[in-house]
């Protein structure tokens, strides 16, 4: 009898499935996961098109997309030309939002913490192992470093910054989606690191800003290029973006249609030093025209109407001129 019921259910679900439109599947970075989830919900309400995005880390996002298992990928670590060539060459990086990487910590009673680049590097290098070593007014507690155990664009942004400002870090560890962390424990996704820092006293980790705010985690003030200690926020993120994007080299890339831009350690007094873009990876030539049309509609919406949602979640929307340049590129996608 049980078998009969299960066969019946299966038959029904197959019928129901055939009737429903295909979901567009994507996976990747957890950095933008909160804003993508918001976008997907609103977009599905407005148009009925379902975009299913799972946060598995930028590394996984690139891999699953390159292997053709997902329809699009999400990553805050751009693919190199070599990686793109290996994956078939037919890949576009569509920037969606910008976010700050906050250095969060769990020290009861300490709401204000100033860290300069060298101290930050030394903590994550395992050279400073007790909070008293950072500042004698801090409690006597061992520092528990938390990093990403999965291939992560957030890691890529964070280590990219450390490699830029600390020769020690650059030579000993380097930058990338996954590195050989000298010390600490691994957490899965931005969620995992935020959860670890939240649950472990004395912990320090790096997460996208919205994860810090929604979890009431204290974020350190970091010394930027201009020598000012800045707090991660919507304002300091946007300041960093305009500071970075004003550079000539950046403008050249944008004009050439290459949006793989590095926004770390931007000039400007109000700029927060660890800021990154996040991209949706899509194929220039869409194999399935039905899905392709829906995907393009989603991208266009995200770059226009969608850009009014990021600010609530503390992501900086794309500057208007960049957004219109990106839209031009979206138009070139062949359905």
């Amino acid at each position: 009898m049980f078998k009969k019921i299960s066969v019946l259910l299966l038959g029904l679900s197959l019928l129901a499935g055939l009737a429903s439109a295909a979901v567009i599947n994507g996976a990747g970075a957890t950095f933008p996961y909160p804003i993508y989830m918001k976008w997907n919900t609103v977009f599905a309400e407005q148009t009925g098109i379902k975009i299913n995005y799972q946060g598995i880390g930028s590394g996984g996002g690139i891999r699953q997309f390159s292997a053709g298992i997902t329809d699009f990928g999400g990553s805050d670590a751009p693919m190199t030309d070599k990686e793109i060539a290996k994956a078939g060459g037919d890949i576009l990086h569509i920037p969606t939002v910008m976010g700050a990487v906050a250095v969060v910590y769990n020290l009861p009673g300490v709401r204000n913490l100033n860290l300069d680049a060298d101290t930050l590097a030394d903590i994550f290098l395992g050279k400073i192992t007790n909070w008293q070593g950072v500042n004698s007014s801090l409690p006597n507690m061992p520092i528990k470093v938390c990093y990403r155990s999965d291939g992560s664009g957030t890691t890529s942004i964070f280590t990219g910054y450390l490699a830029k400002v600390s020769l020690d870090w650059a030579s000993k560890v380097g930058a990338g989606k996954a590195v050989a962390w000298p010390t600490g424990i691994g957490g899965k996704g931005n969620s995992g690191v935020a959860g670890s820092v939240k649950n472990i006293e004395g912990a320090i980790g790096y997460v996208e800003l919205s994860y810090a705010i929604t979890n009431n985690l204290a974020a350190a003030n970091l010394k930027n290029k201009a020598g000012v200690y800045t707090t991660p926020s919507l304002a300091s993120t946007s300041a960093a973006a305009s500071g970075a994007l004003s550079a000539k080299a950046m403008k050249k890339l944008i004009a050439a249609g290459d949006f793989r831009l590095d926004l770390n350690n931007a000039p400007g007094e109000n700029s927060y030093p660890i800021v990154g873009l996040t991209w949706l990876l899509v194929h220039k030539n869409q194999k399935d025209s039905g899905k392709g049309a829906n995907l393009v509609a989603y991208l266009k919406w995200a770059l226009t109407d969608g850009q009014k949602y990021p600010a609530d979640l503390l992501y900086a929307p794309l500057p208007k001129d960049i957004a219109s340049k990106v839209l031009e590129q979206v138009e070139t996608i062949k359905i």
């Binding site: 590394g59 891999r63 999965d150 050989a180 691994g186």
Partner: protein, 286 residues
């Protein structure tokens, strides 16, 4: 008389052929599984060779991999689990099998079975929010403790069966000679049961080696070998669970499959040994 009997295919022939094909699919599936694992891991094997097993670096950035930290984490967490679960499990089994006057015996047995039925991810959830903070954060120790809870029912149940398989006549002879409960146990039960108990323990070990979710959620997920039990660690099953969907290169994926193959070999050997010991004592498989 049907002279054509040898040419006719009867319903019985269909029946045995069809059921045989289902039965034969089992070794075929196993064979396919092993082949696919070997094929998928060959890239990793070609790149790192046997040195993979003793190398401790795990660097996805530079595609340098080694299995040693995971083998270490797997074995040590399982040993911690055994250290806790074996005494407790044997005690429970003795209670259930030898202590005859207790009225709550069957309820206790049911409760131990309930421990076994709780899904791994639920233990992990409990581990993150209750056990891990209690023991000072994610570490090898927390992984071992949570494993001990999970393998306890296995050790208890098999040991109970083993004790029950010891003939009553032995116990009765000891009691007739005036032995206390402890002496009866020591002289008449423990000896004959010993190889079965060894089997129960090894079976518990086999379960601990392959446990994934609960351990992943509390062990700290750090590929290093540290003498401290309070340091974070990583097991074979955990690294596969964390990194498989996100493997960043062909080599990365291949070494993860290779780790799966190592795990498979270890658990199959351990479980095989366990079943042999249990079978020796009870006459039937665990």
């Amino acid at each position: 008389m049907r002279l054509s009997r040898f040419k006719r295919i009867t319903g019985d022939d269909w029946f045995s052929a069809i059921t045989f094909s289902f039965a034969a699919s089992i070794p075929l599936l196993l064979f396919l599984l092993i082949c696919l694992l070997i094929i998928k891991s060959s890239l990793g094997f070609k790149t790192f060779g046997f040195g993979f097993i003793v190398s401790s670096s795990w660097d996805p950035l530079n595609d340098v991999y080694g299995a040693l930290p995971f083998i270490y984490g797997t074995i040590i967490s399982s040993l911690i689990a055994l250290a806790i679960a074996v005494p407790l499990g044997l005690g429970c089994a003795i209670f259930l099998a030898e202590v005859t006057q207790s009225k709550v015996k069957e309820q206790v047995a049911t409760m131990i079975d309930m421990l076994a039925a709780i899904p791994s991810v639920v233990y992990g959830l409990w581990g993150i929010f209750v056990l891990s903070p209690f023991l000072g954060g994610p570490s090898l120790l927390v992984g071992g403790v949570i494993l001990s809870i999970m393998i306890l029912p296995t050790i208890t149940a098999i040991s109970r069966e083993v004790f029950q398989a010891v003939p009553h006549s032995l116990r009765e002879s000891a009691l007739a000679l005036g032995a206390t409960k402890w002496e009866t146990f020591k002289l008449a039960v423990f000896g004959p049961a010993l190889s079965g108990l060894v089997g129960a323990i090894i079976l518990g070990l086999g379960r601990a080696l392959g446990e994934t979710m609960a351990v992943t959620m509390v062990i700290g997920n750090r590929a290093n070998i540290s003498p401290s039990l309070f340091a974070p660690a990583y097991t074979l099953a955990s690294v596969i669970a964390n990194e498989f969907a996100e493997a960043t290169s062909e080599v990365n994926l291949s070494v993860l499959v290779e780790l799966g193959l190592i795990l498979l070999v270890i658990t199959v050997i351990v479980n095989g040994a366990a079943r042999f010991f249990v079978w020796k004592t009870t006459g039937h498989k665990a």
